[in-house]
């Protein structure tokens, strides 16, 4: 990028500056820290100059938006064409309550839906299961059958909105319910747009809502890939998630590394199942975290795009450009929210929003200020959405594409994250791929080490968290928080027992038997699940059939 002579001059100039001005300044006022580092442990230099990107090849490393290697973004015009999809993750209590919240969010200018399910739903238990006690409707909406799903999307035209569903182990069942609701609305499958998370590997690593062992879980996933490539072509069949890996305490570089290693495992599983890479890869999508270290985060998103493009092109020989594009959703970092002085979280979320937008996200959820206390109130959610709108419409950062490109620091950090992530991916390859690395506890252990190190740094005040270990105040109790009425659990159980009486139970049994048989064989399970769902078989009943055939995952406890 620079000729040798120029670099020599710059080097001489920098040394001159360091030995003169800088030395004098430091003698008088020492710097705040001996060593500055990013979350990934990279040492941050005082100043970055052209020396740091001496061999930088623009075309190879950056290229142009919408073109390989997509470092600068996946669309040719990015936010000049259309802003990212503002998509707030929401759902609580019953389908009726959540339906109201969705309609409110759409009225407020939100452009896509994002469904949060309660834990029993995520783990494939009906609301009347013993293990569901106390959890129904708490962290999301309770969905037991197609009936609940019909209520959840009542009055919301499914050909007009795109819907993201945070559902993993039982993703096929919820997708089937969504398809069935659309059919009732007269919307055909090929018009449906949205995403299911469907990323079981990170459930084993960090999030915990697994049901089945890895092998049948991977089959369910590749069945979805295959089914959707033919029947629901606009659906993003997986959202390979680094978000929860980061929340569990990983560094930025580890987030990229472990997410892409999971991605590699899904591609390999699909290839093994006989699919063509260019048939399913365009529908793979990703989900990342946006943390506080603004510049490292921007570099992270850029590095992730470049690495994935390279992997898809060179490792998997994808031909279509769309197969090489890393499209991603972002959520601001829940773990950075503090229970102390919660309004400060609005500012944290603003910084994280900027990181996501400067990093070229396709959609974004902004957390609400009160989420370290409870589920967010409507007012808090509105502020969070407004934060996105202010960045989108007022800040000007959306007017040009990838505006931080070319910064000596950003480019050097993008390279560093790429190197570190590739080093991890190689190690994971040597261990036999992500599923094996998870079984051995390698990935979990790496994350735990980072998380513990961070906590110790906070306690030693090497890391400052405003309001927590510095600038504390005496605070009043926070009264205005959202609570889920315990009555919800009773109501949901009542609905369920009515359903079991009203539906045609013979049809239910028959469809479940067929599903069980298919699960024992090798057929694609999606059509069987769809049929079962339409008879109003419950989520728990469907998952029980699969539990019977597949068995259940046993967590390896790593400490």
């Amino acid at each position: 990028m620079f000729d040798e002579k120029k670099i020599e001059e710059i080097k001489a100039g920098r040394e001159n500056w360091e030995n003169g001005k800088v030395k004098k300044a430091i003698d008088k006022f020492p710097e705040r820290k001996e060593k500055f580092t990013t979350s990934s442990g990279f040492e941050v230099k005082r100043l970055y100059t052209p020396e740091d990107i001496e061999d930088f090849d623009y075309n190879e490393k950056l290229g142009y938006p919408g073109q390989y290697p997509f470092t600068r973004g996946v669309q040719p015009t990015m936010y000049r064409g259309r802003l990212w999809t503002m998509r707030q993750y929401a759902g609580f209590a019953t389908a009726e309550e959540s339906n109201k919240r969705y309609k409110y969010l759409l009225e407020q200018g939100q452009t896509g839906l994002s469904v949060a399910f309660d834990l029993p739903t995520q783990i494939g238990y009906d609301s009347d299961h013993a293990l569901s006690e106390g959890e129904v409707g708490k962290v999301g909406v309770a969905i037991d059958s197609l009936k609940d799903m019909e209520i959840l999307f009542d009055g919301i035209p499914l050909d007009k909105v795109s819907t993201s569903m945070t559902i993993n182990a039982p993703a096929s069942v919820l997708l089937a319910m969504y398809i069935a609701v659309a059919e009732k609305q007269g919307v055909s499958k090929d018009k449906l747009r949205g995403t299911i998370q469907n990323d079981i590997l990170k459930e084993y690593i960090a999030r915990g809502t697994y049901i089945f062992p890895p092998e049948p879980s991977m089959r369910l996933i590749t069945d979805i890939f295959e089914y959707c490539s033919k029947e629901v072509p606009k659906w993003n069949t997986i959202s390979i998630s680094g978000y929860h890996i980061r929340e569990a305490g990983s560094t930025a570089a580890q987030e990229v590394a472990f997410t892409l290693a999971d991605g590699i495992a899904y591609v390999e599983a699909a290839l093994k199942a006989g699919l063509d890479v260019d048939d399913f890869a365009p529908r793979l999508s990703f989900f990342f975290n946006a943390h506080n270290n603004l510049l490292e985060e921007v570099a992270k998103f850029r590095a992730a795009r470049r690495i994935w493009a390279n992997i898809m092109k060179n490792r998997f020989q994808a031909k279509k450009e769309k197969s090489m594009m890393l499209k991603f959703h972002t959520q601001t970092a829940g773990s950075t929210l503090t229970a102390q002085q919660p309004d400060n979280n609005i500012i944290r979320v603003t910084i994280q929003t900027l990181a996501a937008v400067l990093g070229g996200t396709q959609s974004l959820h902004t957390n609400s200020r009160d989420e370290a206390l409870a589920l967010p109130t409507e007012e808090s959610v509105r502020i969070a959405l407004r934060t996105q709108q202010i960045v989108g419409y007022e800040s000007g950062v959306t007017d040009t594409i990838d505006p931080l490109a070319g910064s000596y620091y950003i480019e050097s950090l993008t390279d560093k994250i790429e190197e570190e992530a590739m080093r991890y991916i190689e190690t994971i390859d040597e261990l036999g791929g992500a599923p094996k690395a998870i079984a051995k506890g390698y990935i979990q252990k790496e994350i735990q080490n980072s998380s513990y190190k961070y906590q110790m740094a906070v306690e030693a005040q090497e890391e400052i968290v405003v309001g927590v270990n510095k600038f504390q105040i005496e605070e009043e109790q926070h009264k205005d928080i959202l609570r889920v009425d315990p009555e919800v659990e009773r109501l949901q159980r009542e609905k369920l027992s009515q359903l079991r009486k009203q539906r045609d139970n013979e049809k239910v049994d028959e469809s479940l038997k067929k599903l069980g048989k298919a699960a024992e064989g090798e057929e694609n399970l999606m059509p069987f699940i769809l049929e079962a769902v339409k008879t109003y078989a419950t989520l728990g009943e469907i998952c029980d059939v699969l539990r019977e055939v597949f068995g259940e995952y046993e967590q390896s406890v790593i400490l």
Binding site: L119, P120, Q122, I123, Y125, A130, L131, S132, E133, G134, E135, K138, V139, E203, A206, R207, G208, T209, E247, A248, G249, S335, T338, A339, Q340, A372, L373, A374, L375, Q448, S451, Y452, Q455, V458, E459, V465, V468, N469, Q477, H478, K479, I481, R483, V484, Q555, V557, L559
Partner: protein, 131 residues
């Protein structure tokens, strides 16, 4: 007491957020305690059985899903039914302040919410241990 303090760190319910539980477990271990971590998705019955079998001095539970009012007291009651009343019972997680008095009344002796330093937890255990 001549043996190290034994602690059961437990995740009751369906919640998968175990970052906090694992950090606390490790900090307690670094402070010289013997720590048993249950892993995810434990029923109150399983937690009580593990506490008795491992002969622990402390049961430290973590919940971030909002099911604490239901699950914490259940563990306390089951322990009492088994005649165990000299075990220190602690809770942690995203727990609204309003819920804390009720949980204490139910027998959870301290609740640690987000932002707590692991040092405070270590100190609390060392000064409140019952046997």
């Amino acid at each position: 007491m001549d043996r190290p303090i034994r602690v059961l760190v437990a995740k009751p319910g369906l919640d998968g957020h175990d970052r906090g539980a694992k950090v606390v477990a490790r900090a307690l271990r670094d402070a010289g305690m013997e720590v048993i971590y249950t892993g995810l998705r434990q029923t109150p019955e399983q937690i009580v059985a593990a506490a008795i079998q491992e002969d622990v001095d402390v049961v430290a539970m973590s919940i971030l899903s909002g099911a604490h009012n239901h699950l914490f007291p259940k563990v306390v009651n089951l322990l009492r039914e088994q005649g165990v009343d000299d075990v220190l019972i602690l809770g942690g997680g995203v727990i609204p302040e309003d819920d804390i008095p009720g949980l204490k009344e139910a027998g959870v002796e301290a609740i640690f919410t987000p932002g707590t330093s692991t040092k405070d937890i270590v100190e609390y255990i060392q000064t409140h241990i019952k046997r």
